[in-house]
């Protein structure tokens, strides 16, 4: 485990070292590029303030991501059973992914106010589609033999779905979750940027307008950490939900 991570850790340390040294060597203004040590100090000194904002972000991201998973699942089931709806809705979902959020976010704030709603909606808008897509492709990857077997036993469409398609989509679904999780916090911060009372997005905006690049980077680092933690959580869910010794489909 450690040995597997070692090259990445060494490289990361190297990058940080080069950054630190070049900040000192080039005498870069901390307004423009603070050294990593400066960022770490800033993170430590302002930890309680940053934590307060991070909690707000965590709540929105958590709520949005959970709802997104729920909706994606419900939608995927509905679309699985209604091919017409699938053909009608999927192109619209694709189009929804091509909308530049940077333009939409302020409008969403205007439409839905400063509360949770627009932020949660934005997180859903960003994270819903990858999960939905991977669930549907997971269902489609169900080995036909499994479906055939169940039908020949007299199973209903719903039983087939529940007993074959859903478990078969587990791996694909987790892959989709991983993609979406990468964007959950980024999307939340983004939404906060357009309007919020609290949150890392607001904190970053404030830090930026106060010319505190060190605090900006501290918040950036924290949000990256949060994302990595979410990815780690998904990894644990993966492990825990795994049935049998590596159900590999490429075996």
């Amino acid at each position: 485990m450690l040995a597997r991570c070692l090259p990445a850790l060494v490289l990361a340390a190297l990058v940080l070292a080069v950054w630190e040294v070049s900040c000192a060597a080039l005498a870069l203004s901390p307004l423009i590029l603070p050294p990593p040590s400066g960022v770490a100090t800033a993170l430590f000194v302002n930890r309680s303030e940053i934590a307060r904002h991070a909690v707000a972000t965590l709540m929105v991201a958590g709520l949005g991501f959970s709802l997104s998973i729920g909706f994606a699942w419900v939608t995927s089931v509905a679309l699985y059973f209604a091919p017409l709806a699938r053909r009608a809705l999927m192109p619209l979902f694709v189009v929804s992914q091509t909308v530049p959020l940077v333009a939409l976010a302020p409008l969403m704030i205007l439409w839905f106010g400063f509360g949770l709603l627009p932020k949660v909606l934005l997180v859903i808008l960003v994270t819903f589609f990858p999960i939905l897509l991977s669930l549907l492709s997971g269902y489609r990857q169900t080995p036909p033999a499994f479906v055939d077997l169940l039908v020949s036993m007299g199973a209903s469409r719903w039983t087939v779905f529940w007993r074959a398609c859903l478990p078969a989509a587990r791996a694909a679904c987790l892959a989709g979750l991983r993609i979406s999780a990468t964007y959950a916090f980024v999307a939340t911060i983004f939404a906060e940027y357009a309007g919020a009372r609290r949150g890392l997005g607001i904190y970053i905006l404030m830090a930026k307008n106060n010319f505190r690049a060190d605090l900006v980077l501290a918040a950036v680092a924290l949000s990256a950490l949060l994302t990595l933690a979410l990815l780690g959580l998904i990894h644990l869910v993966d492990r825990a939900s795994q049935r049998g010794p590596q159900e590999r489909r490429d075996a």
Partner: protein, 311 residues
């Protein structure tokens, strides 16, 4: 205070700064609470305060002069209740070591760090032309990044608020020079309006009066006690440089920005208001839906309403 306070939201035009001092004072010193209000100062965000006000997200908003005029012309049903700064605080700023710039006419062909509104082009263009130059220059829209870009020499000039970025530049030892708008044919104007929706004013005049009177009390107190006000503001916000807040409030107090002679703090001067509006219509800054320049409405006296002061 046992009675439940009435919740009121206030949107800001920029990150919290000394322009907002009266709001912070009124909040911290309990003027709002005394008026039965719990005021929530919304953090500055990517959505303009004028839009937040017009959309009904915020009950009140601090508005840049042009933000207000532009939205009003665009058909937003909002009204100005107050003008914070009795004189123009904005100015055109450039680096002193940029010897190519000595007067606005030299700005031809230079690079401007802008904020993305029509008004800037009209302002700068008029200044250059009135100085005998050609109003062609390069605009880079940078928003809040403009000031660092100027300090780094990446752009040639931008607009700043003298009592904020100007003080900051001085404190940081930046050698910067500026042109005053009014020296080059731009009518002098008041700045920093506080507005509400006409609907709010019509339906809840009491609320508007209570809020505005407490706000006024806050600004009056700040004008009288700049040092204490600075301390209050520093305590509420994340200001990396407390000297900036102190210096800025000193400048505001000394410059008579809040209190102009014996007019009440926050009063709107109809004459200058109309002059500015006329200028904006004449320079085609104000456009309606479809981008067509607007017709002069005859009068703009219904764009502001300070009846709350009389109550």
């Amino acid at each position: 205070q046992t009675a439940a306070l009435r919740e009121v939201t206030m949107a800001l035009d920029w990150t919290l700064n000394t322009n907002h001092i009266g709001l912070v004072v009124a909040k911290e010193k309990g003027f709002y609470a005394d008026a039965g209000l719990a005021v929530d100062l919304l953090p500055y965000s990517d959505t303009s305060s004028t839009a937040l006000l017009a959309a009904g997200i915020a009950d009140f908003a601090y508005l840049t002069s042009l933000g207000f005029m532009g939205a009003k012309a665009g058909g937003a049903d909002i009204v100005a209740l107050w003008a914070t700064m009795q004189h123009e605080t904005g100015r055109l700023v450039y680096n002193s070591d940029n010897t190519a710039i000595t007067r606005p006419a030299d700005l031809t062909g230079k690079t401007y760090a802008g904020f993305g509104s029509n008004w800037e082009a009209a302002l700068i263009g008029t200044m250059i032309e009135n100085d005998g130059g050609d109003a062609t220059y390069d605009t880079v829209t940078l928003g809040t990044g403009a000031y660092e870009a100027l300090a780094a020499g990446a752009v040639d000039f931008t607009l700043e608020v003298a009592t904020w970025e100007g003080v900051n530049g001085t404190l940081l030892g930046r050698k910067q020079s500026s042109f005053a708008y009014s020296d080059y044919g731009i009518p002098d104007q008041q700045n920093g309006y506080i507005g509400a929706r006409s609907e709010t004013l019509a339906q809840a005049p009491d609320l508007v009066a209570a809020f505005m009177q407490a706000t006024q009390a806050g600004y009056v107190w700040a004008a009288d006690h700049p040092k204490e006000a600075a301390r209050l503001l520093i305590a509420t916000g994340d200001f990396p440089n407390p000297a900036l807040v102190e210096g800025s409030l000193d400048m505001i107090a000394a410059g008579g920005y809040l209190r102009d002679g014996d007019t009440a703090v926050g009063s709107i001067d109809p004459e200058r208001f109309e002059k500015m509006a006329t200028f904006l219509f004449d320079t085609n800054v104000l456009t309606g839906a479809g981008g067509v320049p607007l017709e002069w409405p005859g009068t703009v006296s219904d764009w502001y309403d300070q009846s709350w002061m009389g109550q």
